[in-house]
Amino acid sequence: MRSKYHAWIGALALVAATAAQADTTLLNVSYDPTRELYADFNAAFAKQWKAKTGETVSIRQSHGGSGKQGRSVIDGLEADVVTLALAYDVDALAANANLIPRDWQKRLGHNSSPYTSTIVFLVRKGNPKGVRDWGDLVKPGVAVITPNPKTSGGARWNYLAAWGYALKKSGNDETKAQDFVGKLYANVPVLDSGARGALITFTERGIGDVFISWENEAFLAVKELGPDKFDIVVPSISILAEPPVTVVDKVVDKRGTRKVAEAYLQYLYSDEGQEIAGKHYYRPRDAKAAAKYAKTFTKVNLFTIDEAFGGWQKAQKTHFADGGVFDKIYQPKK
């Protein structure tokens, strides 16, 4: 008798749980360091969506290397939205699987990148090697840690930032730029396959004098590992890193989640979304939020990938494809 009673309670609890469960779920496939950002943002969006529409939405997250995440979606991971590190990986969704239209980047404001970052240097406390700018990275005796741009999407921004600096310095002389970047990579003792591995090499192994890093990750590293151990150095010129976001059309149309997925991404551009981005060390696009976090982010002379390289497809082909400039740097000198 008693056990029957228990079973009833159990069944009731189950029904209640199902009712309380989300009406909709979204899967956001993102890259590695956005974990905390989206944990915060997802909660904020779910609350706002509930208040506005009365619907409950829960957002699941997937994190990993940007390229690997892109490939998972191509191979059938049902992502409603992707929020990756570089447009090249999102382009691949259009080129390799027709999941989104080719002009996806025009659909949302600011190149579909609601927040940005840039490339800065993390150095050991007190900056013992006196690193101030890109030019200091090619000096003899300075060991630089950066991941392999061929395996790490994020590290491609590092490479392009250095290239852009060299171009500006030399008055657009490509030969000199290649020479500069070649010298820089000659100072790199380890090419880790991803940003996390490289960060461990620099912080835990104690290898290298400078770690080239996304600004938001540099802030996170200093916060997590202790402000008494590392300093952030912001160079005179750097690249505007634009991690783009998009709805995956094929998936949202199949699952019927287009409305909420689009609202989700739109909300990244709202006051609250921008505020959360700033809080997690991404540079907000919105002037109001940017002003609030002006103290955090040093003013840098930023160039975009479209200005300096004519977009991702071109940059990828020239620099990172097999036989491209990056491979040439490592070819044995004849």
Partner: protein, 280 residues
């Protein structure tokens, strides 16, 4: 005689069913996924395939992957044999603990192994800080790759040799001794022939595992182009460019090379077993 020929049945029933199951199972688990790589590669022209797999960087990585795996397997064959010998032949305190330690490389996630090894062997690590002033760089060099592959390959040799060694009849050694054989002769002519097939199996397993290893190597290799890039890393590199065909091309070469090598090792083992049989 004629009865056996007519029926062609073995004494053990269920051969047809068991073979059918084996073929089906192997197809599902091994053949179908592997054939997918061949199908994907087939989308390339022969020339593109050849250019991909003979690019200097790719060749350098094959050389490193197979070379380091071979050296690591040799080291494991030698020291693994000693470990197995000690574990079988002697009784001592803490034997169970050492026995369990052997399996650790099996159980440890390879990435953890890689990170731990790098921590120990890098220039600031426990061991690395003493090696580096003497001009021995382990982490971020091909030597580091060998160290990682030796680490993950050890259990294969120990666990294949151990049971064979344990089953070895002591009487044989005693008989040899009675007949006037020296200790060296006993080892070389009595023990080694009996253990050799198992040792070769262990070597092959360790080697095969090393060729394909990614997780533990990637942290310690340093991944410098032309120097310390393993072949699986180049596969990842191709995938990052969404060059699926190029990635599978490298995979196909590795598959074929591994298969041929394992086949050769199996033949060697068959030969060793026959020779061992004759010696008895």
């Amino acid at each position: 005689m004629s009865f056996a020929l007519q029926q062609r049945h073995s004494v053990l029933p269920g051969f047809g069913l068991a073979l059918g199951f084996t073929v089906l199972y192997l197809s599902l688990i091994v053949l179908i996924p592997l054939s997918a790589t061949f199908v994907k590669t087939a989308s390339m022209s022969w020339e593109a395939f050849w250019n991909t797999v003979t690019a200097p960087r790719v060749l350098a990585s094959f050389y490193l992957s197979f070379g380091a795996a071979f050296i690591a397997a040799l080291i494991n064959a030698f020291f693994g044999m000693i470990v197995a010998w000690v574990l079988v032949r002697y009784r001592f305190a803490g034997k169970k603990v050492i026995d369990a330690l052997v399996d650790l490389p099996f159980a440890l996630p390879t990435a953890v192994a890689g990170i731990a090894l790098t921590a120990v062997y890098s220039s600031k690590g426990w061991i690395g800080q003493y090696l580096e002033p003497n001009g021995i760089k382990v982490a971020f060099t091909p030597l580091g790759v060998v160290v990682a592959l030796t680490f993950i390959g050890l259990p294969f040799v120990v666990r294949t040799v151990q049971p064979v060694l344990a089953d070895l009849e002591r009487e044989l050694e005693e008989a040899a001794s009675c007949l006037g054989a020296t200790r060296r002769q006993i080892f070389v002519r009595v023990i080694l022939p009996a253990v050799l097939p198992a040792l070769i199996t262990g070597f092959a397993l360790s080697f095969a595992r090393g060729v394909g290893e990614y997780g533990s190597v990637i942290f310690i290799a340093g991944n410098m182009p032309m120097k310390s890039e393993i072949a699986p890393l180049l596969i990842i590199t191709k995938l990052e460019q969404y060059d699926y065909a190029g990635a599978t091309a490298i995979a196909v070469v590795m598959l074929v090379a591994s298969f041929l090598l394992l086949l050769a090792i199996n033949l060697l083992q068959w030969w060793a077993r026959r020779r061992g049989g004759q010696a008895c």
